[in-house]
């Protein structure tokens, strides 16, 4: 079905929407559905999807793998793989409903797992090692098992996506039966690749999920940059690189969210040259080191994680993005109309500036596995990787 040889990255225009409740109260699925359906004209029926956070509270200690498979054989291979590499706590088919307009959908199943470690590795086993292992396993399944893809792999969250208009996909996955403290949604208008289920948004890695309107003209550079760090871009869409860049910059390199956003949509040199010294040094360093992570080209993206929702525009704002708030609810969407459809009287509505991220994190301690990325953390890289170019000279060995 999707053994179509995808030879180029996709190009697409789209509509996006996201909602977060800062105190972790659950928002019904109808709400996000209404917001994305309001932007019907921004899609063409070739892809839609939803990411929901907080939908598996009983199993929140486990990575929820949403697996999409072409057939039973592929699914069996995934299961065999998971048996070998993970502790499997629970599995079930993802509940779906027949929708007339959706023909021949793939199989969807979810697995709640924790990665197994070899004995040798076990002594280093901590949370971050678990995350790293999970990333590896997901990459392996996506790359090596024909006809099967992990479409989400975070804890207490999941992605539902496919080929169709948002209302059709929502009906198919019974979105109205879920409640979440963060929702994002996407309505797709691809222009040069066949609509295929794996190509729909959101894209994820661990609990990062991305919906994206735009085209990343720097895709070739970004992909090669990520390959340096072991990320394999298998889905051949530019949005995938955004997920991996976030994972690398924030989770692995410990950049605070704001600076990670500035690495992806950096200020111009002429702005940096005018900054006070310390700030100038910081931004110069970010641009020099993270040139490969710059997302160049028109985009508006929303990304979410267990604890926050972020909206970001490209550095010259070539795609629309509007934000609004009312009480503890924050909204972001391609169009203001989408927000007004679910919140007619927001307290504040604004259009974020080019390259200025809108970061909304939940209040501390309101959800399980809560993450906060507002502060810098030490990078998880080898000591000598940080010292390249500094005194004293370093001997370095081959990989």
């Amino acid at each position: 079905m999707w053994n179509i040889a995808l030879r180029a990255k996709e190009l697409s225009g789209c509509g996006i929407a996201g909602i977060i409740h800062r105190k972790g109260e659950l928002i019904p699925g109808e709400m996000i559905l209404k917001a994305i359906c309001c932007q019907y004209e921004r899609g063409n029926g070739l892809g839609a999807g939803f990411a929901a956070y907080g939908i598996y509270p009983e199993l929140h200690e486990y990575y929820a793998l949403h697996v999409m498979a072409q057939n039973k054989q592929a699914l069996e291979k995934v299961e065999e793989f998971l048996q070998k590499h993970t502790f499997l706590n629970f599995q079930e088919p993802i509940p779906t409903k027949k929708v007339k307009t959706i023909k021949d959908p793939p199989l969807f199943k979810r697995y709640f797992v924790r990665p197994k470690f070899d004995e040798e590795e076990a002594e280093f086993c901590d949370i971050t090692a678990e995350d790293d292992r999970m990333v590896q396993l997901v990459m392996e399944i996506n790359e090596k098992i024909d006809g099967a893809y992990v479409i989400s792999s975070g804890k207490n969250m999941g992605v539902f996506k496919g080929v169709g208009f948002p209302d059709e996909i929502a009906e198919f996955f019974r979105i109205d039966e879920y409640k979440a403290f963060i929702w994002t949604a996407h309505n797709r208008f691809p222009t040069n690749t066949p609509g295929w289920w794996g190509g729909a948004h959101p894209f994820t890695i661990l609990d990062w999920s991305i919906v994206h309107n735009g085209e990343i003209s720097s895709y070739g550079t970004n992909r090669r940059y990520l390959e340096l760090f072991g990320y394999k871009c298998t889905l051949l869409t530019d949005t995938e690189v955004v997920a991996y860049i976030l994972d690398l910059l924030i989770r692995k390199h410990g950049l605070p969210l704001e600076l990670a956003c500035k690495a992806m949509a950096p200020p111009f040199w002429m702005e940096i040259d005018e900054m006070p010294e310390e700030e100038r040094e910081l931004y110069t360093a970010i641009r020099i080191l993270y040139g490969g992570a710059v997302l160049n080209g028109p985009f508006a993206i929303l990304f979410a994680y267990n604890g926050g929702l972020v909206g970001l525009n490209d550095r010259v704002k070539l795609r629309p993005l509007v934000a609004a708030s009312k009480g503890d609810l924050y909204f972001m969407a391609s169009e203001e109309a989408a927000i007004r459809a679910i919140c007619p009287d927001p307290e504040r509505v604004w259009a974020p500036k080019a390259g200025e991220p809108v970061i909304v994190e939940m209040e501390e301690g309101v959800i399980p596995n809560q993450k906060s990325y507002l502060k810098p953390r030490p990078a998880e890289v080898k000591e000598d990787a940080l010292r390249i170019g500094y005194l004293p000279p370093l001997l370095f060995s081959s990989k």
Binding site: E215, T221, M270, I288, L289, P393, F396
Partner: protein, 507 residues
């Protein structure tokens, strides 16, 4: 009977004088440093020695009445596909003289030029092109090793670096001037290059001839070279620039050193090179302290020690068959940048066989080196600088999309100051005042003129690069680096496309 000199029977060029226009002002006689134009004082007329004409077109350009046309000599040999006049004449020359064939510039053979088989992308509908006249378009590039991640701390609610970045070189445009020594080219050209580099925010390279006293003020735009002859090399020289380039090899003549004939070693050059006036300056083929990669490491760190780790060290090699593995070794040896000079790279003097037949094209070399360094996870430890055969701004864009951080131009800069590619730089008689030290000849190209022409060229290229980036929908050069999506091949084989990592047009 004197032995006949066969080569002189068959000149390459023919000087055609239109007598109706000629006013016998004798300008041509004064202009031709090869003495191809001769004044006969008895007959009060001009005549020509066609065998001496090198085809530099100086007389043609300077003739006030445009009475001269320089043509290929019309005399023809019987056609033969294998034994073309080029080979016949070369055999004559060597039979006459028993020497090595000498020439200048880069490879003159029509090997496949990969740049000409690559086309660029542009935006249509799905993403908007960016207009550099209305939006900022950034070419700034940093050369040097880069740590993998940053250490950041928060102080009073503000983020800042825990420690400053290691030394790096800022280029406002990713085009630098390749090593051309004072001696090979005139001091005026050096002065022009230095000043243009300063005003453009880029670097020029001293070559191996040392640094003339008048050029120390351009230090922050200077790369000093340390080649096998070590001419003009002392601690002040090493500290004069922002980078030191160890020259292992050169694309025009891989595997051999340089040779500046004694005739070119004037008083000033003798001072700068620290050798006696009139003595040949011969650089050996290897560095006599580098016989292995660990020796290179020794030299890299000796230079770094001598300059207190303030200067970057580049290592320049010719692109040869095994270039990727060699480059990897160089990066591991501690170089901050690897300079790769391809088959088409120019020179002031090289044996013809070396210029035309040794080395590989730069396009393939960039791609192979970039790929290897990435595979080994050491790409960020050094920059890649590509040189050899870059003729226009599109070539620069393609080189960067193939994985280079910046490029060097040499020949293009010389053409900008009037070079006509006669390929006789090694004679030291350059009638255009470029590749010569003859005090009369160098007056023909004042430093201000050299500066203006070189500055204009790079300014124009930078503008064109911005336009091309904008058309591709990106507004910063770093998003082009290694971005093969922006390239498509036209008329390349599968293998070639694999090495270049590009798809064919239409794919």
């Amino acid at each position: 009977m004197a032995t006949p000199q066969f080569a002189s029977f068959f000149p390459d060029f023919y000087i055609e004088r239109i007598w109706e226009k000629c006013i016998k002002c004798r300008r041509c006689v004064r202009e031709c440093s090869y003495e191809a134009h001769i004044w006969d004082p008895k007959k009060k007329t001009l005549y020509e020695d066609h065998t001496k004409c090198v085809g530099c077109h100086r007389c043609e350009a300077m003739c006030p009445t445009k009475a001269i046309i320089i043509r290929r000599h019309p005399a023809e040999f019987r056609e033969h596909a294998l034994w073309t006049p080029w080979f016949i004449k070369n055999v004559y020359k060597q039979a006459d003289q028993g020497g090595v064939l000498l020439t200048s510039t880069g490879c003159a053979l029509p090997f496949k030029n990969y740049f000409d088989h690559l086309v660029l992308d542009a935006c249509q509908v799905t993403n908007p092109p960016i207009d550099p006249l209305r939006e900022p378009m950034e070419l700034r590039t940093y050369i040097g090793p880069k740590p993998e991640a940053l250490e950041i701390e928060e102080v009073d609610g503000k983020f800042r670096l825990k420690k400053k970045l290691p030394p790096m070189i800022k280029l406002e445009v990713p085009i630098m001037f390749a090593a051309m020594s004072y001696g090979a080219i005139s001091l005026h050209v050096h002065q022009g290059l230095a000043k243009a580099a300063r005003d453009l925010g880029t670097l020029y390279n001293t070559g191996e001839g040392g640094l003339h006293a008048s050029l120390y003020e351009y230090g922050s735009n200077t790369i000093v070279q340390c080649a096998s002859g070590r001419f003009g090399l002392h601690v002040d020289y090493l500290n004069a620039g922002v980078a030191i380039e160890i020259k292992i090899g050169q694309g025009a003549k891989p595997g051999i050193g340089g040779h500046l004939p004694g005739e070119k070693v004037t008083e000033e050059i003798s001072k700068t090179r620290m050798i006696p006036v009139g003595s040949d300056a011969i650089s050996p083929a290897p560095h006599h302290d580098i016989y292995s990669i660990e020796d290179l490491r020794g030299l890299i760190f000796a230079l770094k020690e001598a300059t207190e780790y303030k200067k970057l060290v580049f290592v320049k090699i010719a692109a040869v068959h095994n270039v990727a593995a060699i480059a990897s070794g160089i990066v591991r040896a501690g170089a901050d940048a690897v300079v790769i000079d391809g088959l088409k790279g120019g020179t002031g003097a090289a044996p013809t066989m070396f210029r035309d037949y040794i080395g590989i094209p730069i396009e393939l070399a960039i791609s192979a080196v970039d790929k290897r360094l990435r595979e080994e996870g050491i790409r960020h430890r050094a920059s890649i600088i590509a040189s050899g055969g870059i003729r226009c701004s599109a070539d620069v864009v393609k080189a960067i999309a193939l994985g280079a951080d910046a490029v060097y131009i040499g020949t293009a800069a010389l053409i900008a100051v009037g070079c006509t590619m006669c390929q006789r730089c090694y004679t030291g008689k350059c009638p255009w005042g470029i590749a010569t030290n003859n005090p009369e000849l160098i007056k023909r190209l004042p430093p201000e003129v050299a500066y203006e022409k070189i500055y204009n060229l790079v300014k124009a290229w930078a503008h064109e690069i911005k336009e091309m980036l904008g058309a591709m929908g990106i507004n910063s050069i770093e998003s082009l680096k290694g971005n093969r999506d922006k390239l498509r091949a036209v008329g390349l084989t599968k293998e070639e496309m694999e090495i270049l990592e590009v798809k064919h047009a239409g794919e």
